[in-house]
Symmetry: C2
Subunit: 465 residues, 2 copies
């Protein structure tokens, strides 16, 4: 390790208390992208990120409008001839509900057992702050960076990034780079170093069944009036086979076999099915599925998942009403070869064909969706991130897939011609789409050191891509 | 018509503006019985009713505690040897949600087109105020009533009256009477005079499917984790045949054939199926059912109705979550011969038998439920109410059944040995379990006159029952 790097790492360690205060301030901003009620929080978070980049020493920092929430850009590009790397992250967060299940308020970061609890702290505010702080330490210590470093921080990741691809296309010249390093993503397990080389795609569809023009009294009208909940549950129940496989014609069209390297990794990991169900607190099904099969279902098979269902009365006690509509929120995780728009259309067609007479079906789309992503196994950036984690953790990381969706991989490949590697220090058990989201401070510290080293190592990227 | 009665009716007409102000004040009280958040509104409404009875001239007015919300009682019993009649009503109301669909706020009564809009105004605050005002006019004009008149006003009708039967049993001596006249209920159609001689029973059951201990990220866990919405929709879809008939074994046990008089009434009414679906604003199913069949399904067949379904995210946009639980609120309308407890148990058994492995089923009951009710076709009180409506409306009312449930009929028969007739001036199209509930002021005026006459006529009841 060079003397420079040692001094940078020492400065990062010395600054920790202040960094945690900054992270807490960032997490106090309720930047929920999915719900228009949080518009002010989105704007405030974008300003926070832009201000932080400027303070770190980046040039040309800008809050750039898109068709939706803005992206924040900035860069340090004073190393002509050196490689150029684009860091990606997002400043928006998931909705906080159900609020009553949070131990401490979602937008009041709270420290317990060396973990900070707050909505968005693991996904992605903590991991995003790390490269900014590491680059700042480099610039303070050294007055320069060994590579050209750009930032692109979006505000709609938790809403399916509906305007992201257009924004990247519009900014393609400004964002040109040899490699994208994502500060979003997550390590698979806290006890097992890993790098992510593939992720599932996603597409979303709301399904709404309408019947009467208004809610009706179930005494007067029960038996003669249509009940949209009854129609909806029949429709939804038809979407899966009894074993959970998706039963929609055309849903699986175009699927290509998975990279065998990922299947090998699955075989190498002794995934414990019983421990999995214990971990999520669910009764283990009987017969118990093989652990290998569970992991294949998480990483390499598509899903059609109900994220929410609603209609009629949901309060205390009873309300004898026949609802006028009922709806479900559906998202599908896609594997390589599936086309998001074709999947939505297959579902819509399936439901419309089964809609009973006397009801009206409405479907609502949320952006174009994202195809699945897979990284070239020989990618140089990928090897660098593996090397650094191996040095710091004493164990070479596995190459794993992820069930979750990071649509950026496909966007950066098509719009910038650059590969994307994931270098995030959140862990996928940190409840980032559930109450009581947290971030391990040990990984915050680890990430600062790792990013300081990655910035150093990236100079070797020259000729990459 | 006697001179007394003419003077009373003139006084009622002269007092109208003040009565409407009183009704508005009553409806400003948010007395929602199903939701504990409205506890203060319940207490205030009970005090309002008790105060109004005292002011009208009734003795021994009391707010009597029960296992739940209190009942209000009072009476004028200074006519020894004359018949005794108990007036029934309720001061509680349905929950007001969905709030965003109200044109004017639910607890701010608003006049539009000779209709007053407010939650609970048609069910049952308007109809309940009528007999109090009519009796008050009698007492002011005449200093006495021709019969002994008692009141019993409950506060849990919209929650299935879970403590009502016990309260009536405990107060049986005080409530002893020859006839009960209910100010609750509703005329079937605004354009067709009718009296109700039978009503369906009801029972309620919440069904909750649990899986993981907390909400999960649908990216990481999708495919391997159980989704309780998926299990719930399969369970609920199994409860009906495709044609809407209930598919639960044991559900129809004990059903006895309906009173042929009601079927004759159905045949006499030319129920227009197309107009029915137009009226509720729903697409007409194809093929269109016969109008007669729709009315039979409303009045004489049992239902299993979904009043609400919920689970996971229901906000704007998308949230990629696998919910930890999902639930549905079910009520069944029962016909003669069905046992409410046996129906609940049949549903529970049906669902438990079909629950997939890996989930836990919870059911929540809301009181004992109510069996169906049917009045003796030769009842004297029934003939009186028919006579009065015939005089006032120029057309003898039909005897109809009602799909809705008024559990009091069975309770008063078993606990007081008295029959119950319905003499309510709300109409069943007044959206009383939906947004924008209203009450026709024309029927408020009609009801005041009709009740003044009924109080006069009831003296002929002597020897009844």
């Amino acid at each position: 390790m060079s003397g420079d790097l040692a001094a940078i790492e020492a400065a990062l360690a010395a600054g920790e208390a202040g960094f945690i205060q900054e992270l807490m301030a960032f997490c106090r901003i309720p930047s929920v992208s999915a719900d228009p009620a949080y518009r002010d929080g989105i704007a405030e978070a974008a300003r926070f990120v832009a201000g932080r980049l400027e303070r770190a020493g980046f040039d040309d920092v800008a809050i750039v409008p898109t068709g939706g929430h803005p992206v924040v850009t900035g860069g340090w590009c004073r190393a002509p001839g050196a490689p150029t790397v684009l860091v990606y992250g997002h400043y928006d967060v998931q909705p906080p509900d159900p609020l009553e299940r949070w131990t401490s308020p979602p937008f009041e970061p709270t420290l317990r057992d060396d973990r900070l609890y707050a909505r968005g702290i693991s996904d992605d505010k903590g991991p995003l702050l790390i490269p900014i702080l590491a680059a700042e330490a480099w610039l303070r210590q050294h007055g320069s960076l060994p590579v050209n470093l750009k930032f692109l921080i979006e505000g709609e990741e938790e809403s399916g990034s509906p305007h992201f691809e257009a924004a990247v296309a519009a900014l393609a010249e400004e964002l040109a780079c040899d490699l994208v390093v994502s500060a979003d993503g997550a390590m698979w397990r806290a006890d097992l170093p890993s790098v992510t080389v593939a992720s599932r795609g996603m597409t979303a569809l709301d399904v709404i069944v309408h019947s009467a023009a208004k809610d009706l009294h179930s005494g007067r009208h029960g038996g003669s009036a249509p009940n949209p909940v009854r129609a909806l549950v029949r429709l939804l129940a038809s979407l899966h086979e009894e074993d959970g496989k998706v039963a929609v014609e055309g849903f699986h069209d175009g699927i290509v076999p998975p990279d065998p390297a990922i299947v090998e990794a699955i075989d190498a990991v002794d995934f414990d099915a019983r421990a999995y169900f214990e971990g999520i607190g669910a009764p283990a099904p009987e017969p118990l599925p093989a652990g290998r099969d569970l992991l294949i279902r998480q990483w390499l098979e598509p899903t059609l998942e109900f994220n929410g269902i609603s209609g009629g009365y949901a309060g205390a006690g009873t309300k004898t009403v026949i609802p006028s509509q009922a709806q479900a929120k559906i998202t599908c995780r896609l594997v390589a070869g599936q086309d998001p728009a074709a999947v939505r259309e297959a579902i819509r067609r399936h439901l419309q064909a089964r809609l009973p007479s006397g009801y009206r079906l409405e479907t609502v789309e949320h952006g174009p969706g994202s195809p699945a992503f897979a990284l070239d196994p020989d990618d140089r950036g990928l090897r660098m991130t593996q090397d650094i984690l191996g040095e710091l953790l004493g164990r070479r990381p596995l190459r794993v897939a992820m069930g979750a969706t990071i649509p950026i991989g496909a966007v950066f490949r098509s719009r910038l011609g650059a590969p994307t590697v994931f270098f995030s220090f959140s862990t996928s058990d940190e409840d980032y789409h559930a109450p009581n989201e947290f971030f391990r401070l040990a990984n915050f510290r680890l990430g600062l050191v790792a990013w300081a080293r990655l910035i150093d190592r990236l100079k070797e990227l020259k000729g990459h891509g």
